[in-house]
């Protein structure tokens, strides 16, 4: 990795940490964006707690999407599950095309306000990249390799765990990475149904015409997305190096 890029990443992480721990230190920076003496820094809640809550929601949804999407991907690439491929693909596609806002609208009457409808929306929205990458990864194992594995005396389960999944892992992680990054941004809408998160900051800004609030919510979310993307990239590279597949 080039040195400059590493420095930039460390700087971004440092900036994010500094802003979340001591937001008031940045007050002068945001003051020009406010009018009529409105507060330049979000003051209706702790920015750090909101960020952590936001991250927790995103991660919980990503874990659930990963488990379901990888599981489905494995199922439909087995001989016995191949007929479920079109159906699974259709379901996952619906999850992606159905707007998260609409999912919230449907979910709130069913599960109430709070973090639950947000989790459902993020979960459905995050399935597609992981599912498709899992399938692509598993189908990327050549028939020669699978025959060798069977010929050695591996059971179907051993073949999956020792050959197919390790070979597919880099692509699966790439899917999780995409899904995570999309979720970080999408999770802000959860605040419309009272889920704790950075959306609160943006909505507060919109309601009081406070550009500083909107910008703070957006910047923190954006920085988090970029840093998560990089962190997942590091994990991927490590796994690829261990697996020696590019």
């Amino acid at each position: 990795m080039p040195r400059a890029a590493t420095l930039l990443r460390v700087a971004a992480l440092g900036l994010l940490a500094a802003f979340l721990l001591r937001p008031q230190a940045f007050a002068a920076l945001f003051a020009p964006l406010t009018q009529y003496g409105a507060p330049p820094i979000y003051d209706q809640g702790n920015l750090l707690t909101l960020t952590l809550a936001h991250l927790a929601t995103v991660c919980a949804a990503a874990v659930a999407s990963t488990i379901v999407a990888v599981g489905l991907g494995i199922l439909v690439t087995r001989q016995s599950g191949a007929e479920f491929l079109p159906l699974s693909r259709a379901l996952v596609n619906i999850g992606q095309t159905f707007p998260p806002v609409a999912v919230l609208a449907v979910a709130v009457p069913l599960v109430g306000f709070g973090v639950k409808p947000t989790l459902i929306a993020l979960f459905a929205y995050g399935l597609l990249p992981i599912f498709e990458n899992t399938i692509a990864g598993l189908q990327g194992c050549t028939s020669e390799l699978l025959e060798a594995a069977s010929g050695m005396g591996m059971s179907a389960r051993q073949r999956l765990l020792e050959v197919e999944l390790p070979m597919a892992m880099p692509l699966i992680l790439e899917g999780v990475r995409l899904s995570l990054v999309i979720s970080v941004g999408t999770a802000t809408i959860g605040s419309t149904v009272a889920a704790r998160g950075l959306g609160e900051v943006i909505i507060a800004g919109l309601l009081s015409s406070n550009t500083a609030f909107i910008l703070q919510g957006g910047l923190v979310t954006g920085l988090m997305a970029v840093l998560l993307y990089d962190a997942m990239g590091l994990v991927e590279r490590r796994v690829c190096r261990a697996a020696h597949v590019a």
Binding site: E144, L145, E147, A148, A149, S150, G151, M152, G153, M154, S155, Q158, V163, P166, M167, A243, H244, V245
Partner: protein, 311 residues
């Protein structure tokens, strides 16, 4: 010993292997040769049940192969395929250790066996054990593939066109290595190929297959001198059958005591090569020496020619 009884495989209305019966002797190399689509690979795969037979049965050392789960059976049978099929995410040592791991060998025993095999295949363990398959040449990958197939000391090794992806020079070396390895470990090998030269070079017994049937299963010389039908004769090469026959006997086998003029020939050289050498030197005879250069006798053109026709 492998005993194949009335083995058939049908896919729908197509019969791929048609009631094949044959016996493979212990500690020999048996080659199944045939054109593509002759059913030779399917026959091989029915031995370790990668393909389940439609009817008939296979006995290994008297035991029906269906008397245990297929994956357990396969751990006792070595299997090497064209293009090696090495796992790209595992090192050479890990690849070779695949079956011993499945069998639950101790790490100590696995390590010793991997090192032994690497040395047997002329790969220095210190240098190659930790490498990944993509860091090896084609010939080295192929050797690791065979080493992996032999790792758990199977008494039977099945090979499906194992040298198909190699260039002629490496291929010839790989064939020599296989003969050495077979002598060293005493493994019973069944090898499938479409290359009749390879079949004659490696096989103590050769089965010629076409359209799912074994046309003839015999010693190589018998295939040449007494072909079962015109198809076997065509496949084994009508035009140069006399030369092929010569290539099955070595100079050492027919050398007679005494000395004569002419070029010097190794006792391990085939009569075909010996004849070629004598022709090249415009001589009538040759001296035969063993691998240390000690004289073993002499060989005349007339004696060689006598071996180039059916008795």
């Amino acid at each position: 010993m492998i005993r194949i009884e009335n083995l058939s495989k049908q896919y729908g209305a197509t019969t791929v292997v048609d009631a094949v019966s044959m016996e493979v002797e212990r500690n020999t190399i048996t080659v199944i040769v045939g054109t593509s689509g002759s059913g030779k690979s399917t026959l091989l795969r029915m031995i370790n049940r990668l393909v389940e037979p439609s009817s008939g049965r296979v006995l290994i050392d008297g035991k029906d192969t269906r008397s245990e789960p297929a994956h357990l059976l396969r751990r006792r049978i070595g299997y090497a395929i064209q293009g090696h099929g090495l796992f790209p995410h595992r090192t050479v040592a890990q690849n070779i250790a695949t079956v011993p791991h499945l069998l639950g060998w101790s790490e100590l025993r696995i390590g010793a066996r991997v090192a032994e095999l690497l040395r047997a295949f002329q790969l220095d363990p210190a240098e190659y054990a930790g490498k990944y398959p993509h860091q090896l040449s084609g010939g080295q990958q192929q050797r690791v593939g065979v080493a992996r197939a032999l790792a758990a000391e199977p008494s039977v090794l099945l090979m499906d066109e194992p040298f198909g992806a190699l260039d002629p020079i490496i291929r010839s070396k790989a064939q020599d290595d296989l003969l050495d390895i077979q002598r060293r470990f005493g493994t019973t090998i069944v090898l499938v190929t479409h290359d009749i030269d390879e079949a004659f070079r490696l096989g103590q017994r050769v089965a010629v297959m076409s359209q799912g049937r074994v046309l003839q299963y015999d010693r190589p010389a018998a295939l040449l001198t007494r072909p079962a039908d015109s198809l076997v004769a065509r496949m084994t090469g009508l035009a140069d059958r006399a030369l092929r026959l010569l290539s099955l006997t070595t100079a050492g086998q027919i050398a007679t005591p005494g000395s004569a003029g002419g070029p010097t020939i190794a006792a391990s050289a085939s009569l075909r090569d010996a004849l070629s050498e004598i022709l090249w030197h415009g001589a009538e005879s040759a001296q035969v020496v063993d691998e240390r250069g000690a004289p073993r006798g002499s060989l005349t053109v007339a004696a060689i020619l006598a071996h180039g026709r059916p008795e």
